[in-house]
Every structure is written in structure tokens, then in C-alpha cells.
């Protein structure tokens, strides 16, 4: 490459990369927003931590209800995903908790990207139905089609949340939370994605 083409390459590269900053484009390989800046305390008076029971995900996972009424466990090995991915699916997406970049993108009021996309200040930009996405994923992975008797229509998850006082970080009683994801018949007609 000659000097001129290198100058063009660098100018276009810099323009694309830096334009992503005001437009808050947190997509690989443009700018990034760290995952660790978005975890505020649950409440000012306490801190909380969701327990990730690795053994449980290997042994049981979600309790699934099939269309024929039968029940089964959907474990990590059944989905063939890495442990960290399984934690995120089970302990976050099951509760409709989105990835951090969704929170980054949807935060703030009158932002440049909202103006560009014609979205009202404060309205979310990224919207995903995690309940449907997860049920589609599990069924597609296991090769089960809507209407089949073994199609999974419900997923049940359970998690324990530890609490600590914000003053002294003293342990407070744990709480148990449950999530129930249910397939809706109107989703049968739509595409998998």
C-alpha cells in the first residue's frame, strides 16, 4: 500500500470506530462497554449475590414440562454448552435478565442513537423476549418441533440469593426465587428466530 492508501485506510478506520462512540454501538469490533459497570446494589441497605450451583446444573438443570404433560430435566450436557454459558442461561435469561450490553444500550434518556433510530427518549432500543428465545433454543437443540408431544412447553428454574447488610456485610437470611417460562400458542406460527 502506498502512503495515500494507508492514510485513507486509517482515516476510514478511525471514523468508523469513533462514530460508534456517540452512537453507543457496543458491537464487536467497534467500541465496547465493560460488563462490570452495571451492577448496582439491589437496595441501598443491602448487597445480594445470586448463588450459581454448578453441580445442580450438571445434575438437574431446568425442570421441563412437555406438551404431553410429561416432565424431564434439561441439564447442561443435554444442551452441550460451556458451564459459563449455562449459568447465564439458567441464572440470568430464565429470569428475563438481559446481557449487560442490553442494559448499556437501553440506559439514558435523549441519546444520539435514539434520535437516529426515531426512538423516544428513555424507550428501550434492544428488546428481546428471553422467555421465547430460551424455549425456542432448548426445543431446537433437542430437535423438538411445536405440536409434537415431546415439545417442551414449560421450563422451571430456581435460584438462591444471598443477602448482606451494606453497613457491615453481615449475612442476612437467603431468599429462594423461582422462574417459570411458558410457551404461548401464538408463537407456534412464527419463525424460530
Amino acid at each position: 500500500m502506498n502512503k495515500r492508501s494507508v492514510a485513507w485506510l486509517l482515516a476510514v478506520h478511525a471514523l468508523v470506530v469513533w462514530l460508534a462512540v456517540p452512537f453507543r454501538i457496543d458491537e464487536f469490533r467497534l467500541t465496547w462497554a465493560p460488563m462490570y459497570a452495571i451492577q448496582p446494589a439491589e437496595a441501598p441497605e443491602r448487597r445480594s449475590v445470586v448463588l450459581k450451583d454448578r453441580e445442580r446444573l450438571e445434575r438437574e438443570g431446568w425442570r421441563a414440562v412437555r406438551a404431553d404433560g410429561g416432565e424431564e430435566w434439561v441439564r447442561r450436557a443435554d444442551l452441550n454448552v460451556a458451564p459459563r454459558n449455562m449459568w447465564r442461561l439458567y441464572y440470568e435469561r430464565s429470569w428475563g435478565h438481559p446481557p449487560p450490553r442490553f442494559k448499556h444500550k437501553n440506559s439514558g434518556g435523549a441519546t444520539l442513537d435514539r434520535w437516529w433510530l426515531g426512538i423516544a427518549p428513555g424507550e428501550p432500543i434492544f428488546v428481546e423476549n428471553w422467555e421465547r428465545a430460551l424455549l425456542v433454543s432448548v426445543n431446537e437443540t433437542l430437535g423438538r418441533a411445536p405440536g409434537a408431544p415431546d415439545f417442551i412447553v414449560e421450563l422451571h428454574a430456581e435460584r438462591v440469593r444471598m443477602h448482606f447488610s451494606s453497613e457491615t456485610l453481615e449475612r442476612l437470611p437467603d431468599t429462594r426465587e423461582t422462574a417459570r417460562l411458558r410457551w404461548r400458542t401464538e408463537w407456534n406460527a412464527g419463525s424460530a428466530r
Binding site: 478506520h13 469490533r29 448487597r47 460451556a82 447465564r88
Partner: protein, 283 residues
């Protein structure tokens, strides 16, 4: 970069090659465009092997630019397969990817490489041809930290610093997320738990993180190699501490500092001192 890549993708090697192919919950944007819907464990293993081989040939300068392009494709594939499963996008490859991208357009394999031995008749390198990819990489690395600081500022403002709450939540999370062991200690790093109790220290660390990230571009103007080394050493310590306390896998990233920010004047100054000491030792 070999350990860096292994640390990013080794979990994909634990999957059953003949098992089910997971249907992505939220594919990364280029998988969405390409219509890639499933995680193929055998393809992931092949891509990781290819990445490691291409990284080695790139370092040796064998078919250097082609190796850079192969690395880019393999990283995109591996990253897509790992991140599309649950929809999280990890950015640890952002710097290596940008650097390889710029190098793919440069004459990086034309000197001190196996390529140069194969093609000794190659035209001599001009100064600007060797310096532009390095300068561009420096700017990108500095910008990477700046964007991080900017995003933190946008999301949290002064809350990041105010009472150390954000860091405290993170550290508590990382020490207790796998529960408590039979000895009553958290399954995670007990040091993280100790840090979570040190509010003043957390405020100081949060402030230092902000200053480092938002001020990273200053390193481009630091003329004294010692000062540069001090700053970059601090950032390296930051990444090591992040890994030890919170398992944040940027730990091998500081290798780019040694490559792209010229620390040789410092080494030149230290080398004679070390030489004298070793000479005295052998007397």
C-alpha cells in the same frame, strides 16, 4: 498471544463433538447476517487449533499477512460461537483483533521473518511503512481503555467512585457466587471478600481505574520510557488483580504494551547495570 487465546476459548473444548448442536439464544450480529444458528463443537475445536497455528506462524513471520487474516477469521468464528449462546458479548479480543486487522494491510512480514528469508529480494522498508501500524495500534489500545472509562462514566457517573458500592458488589459476587465451602469460607477468592470490606481502598481503586482509563491517551505523549513503564506496569497490575480477584480474563492483554509501547530505552539503561552485577557475581 497463545495463552491469551487459550484462556478465551478453552471452555469450548469441553463440549461433546458428537453431541447436540446448541441453537443460539441470541446470535452475534455477523452470525445473524450469515445465518449461523448453531454451536458446532467440532468446528469450534478446529477453529481454536487453526487460531493457535496461525498465531504461531504470524509470530514467526511465515506467510505473515495471510496468518493475520486467518487469525481474524478464527477469532470471529470462536467469539461468535462462545458469545451467541447466551447473548453476552465479551470484548477481550477487541485489541488483538484491531491490531491484526491493521497489520494485515501492512508490510509486517517483510523484515526479520521467515517470509523475508524466503523472499530476500523484497523492496527495503521505508520508515513510515514500519511505523504506521505501530502508531495506529498504540492509538487503538489507548482508545480501548478510554471507551471503557467513558461507558463506565455514562452508566454510573460518580456512583462508580462515591462509596465503593459498585466494586463492593462485584467483589462480593465473585467471592460468594459459588457458595460457601465446608470450612465456612467463600468458594471464590477469599482475598476478594477481604477487599470488599475495605471501603476506602475500594473508593481509591475505583478512582484510579477512572483516571487510568480516561487518561490512557496521555501515555502517547510520555517521552520518558521510565514513566511509560511505570504507567503500563500499573495497568498490568490492574489486569492481574482483576484476574486474581474477579477472574476477569484480560490477564494476558498487557503483552501488547511490551510490543507496541517502546520500552527499549529503559531496557538499554537497565541492561548494563544487570551486566555489571552478573559480572561481579561471577568474579
Amino acid at each position: 498471544m497463545l495463552p491469551f487465546h487459550v484462556l478465551q476459548y478453552y471452555t469450548l473444548l469441553g463440549l461433546d463433538w458428537t453431541g447436540p448442536k446448541f441453537w443460539f439464544v441470541h446470535p452475534i450480529w455477523y452470525f445473524e447476517w450469515l445465518g449461523i444458528q448453531r454451536l458446532d463443537p467440532a468446528l469450534a475445536a478446529l477453529a481454536l487449533a487453526t487460531l493457535l497455528i496461525a498465531t504461531t506462524t504470524f509470530a514467526l513471520g511465515y506467510r505473515t499477512r495471510l496468518s493475520a487474516v486467518v487469525c481474524l477469521v478464527a477469532i470471529a468464528l470462536l467469539k461468535g460461537m462462545r458469545d451467541s449462546v447466551a447473548g453476552d458479548v465479551h470484548h477481550r479480543e477487541l485489541v488483538p483483533f484491531a491490531v491484526l486487522f491493521l497489520f494485515a494491510f501492512s508490510r509486517c512480514g517483510d523484515v526479520d521473518s521467515l517470509d523475508a528469508r524466503r523472499r530476500p529480494e523484497t523492496r527495503e522498508l521505508e520508515e513510515w511503512e514500519s511505523s504506521w501500524p505501530i502508531k495506529a495500534a498504540q492509538l487503538h489500545i489507548a482508545s480501548f481503555y478510554f471507551w471503557s472509562g467513558l461507558a463506565k462514566w455514562r452508566m454510573t457517573g460518580w456512583d462508580w467512585i462515591r462509596d465503593g458500592e459498585r466494586l463492593q458488589v462485584l467483589l462480593l459476587n465473585r467471592s460468594f457466587r459459588f457458595g460457601i465451602g465446608p470450612d465456612g469460607e467463600p468458594e471464590g477468592n477469599p482475598l476478594a471478600l477481604w477487599f470488599s470490606h475495605q471501603t476506602e481502598l475500594l473508593i481509591l481503586l475505583a478512582l484510579a481505574t477512572f483516571v487510568m482509563e480516561l487518561g490512557f491517551h496521555l501515555v502517547l505523549w510520555m517521552r520518558a520510557a521510565g514513566l511509560r513503564a511505570l504507567f503500563l506496569g500499573g495497568v498490568t497490575l490492574f489486569h492481574v488483580a482483576n484476574y486474581v480477584l474477579m477472574k476477569v480474563k484480560f490477564v494476558f492483554l498487557p503483552v501488547v504494551f511490551a510490543v507496541f509501547f517502546d520500552l527499549s530505552p529503559l531496557l538499554d539503561r537497565i541492561a548494563p547495570v544487570l551486566g555489571r552485577r552478573s559480572a561481579r557475581g561471577t568474579e
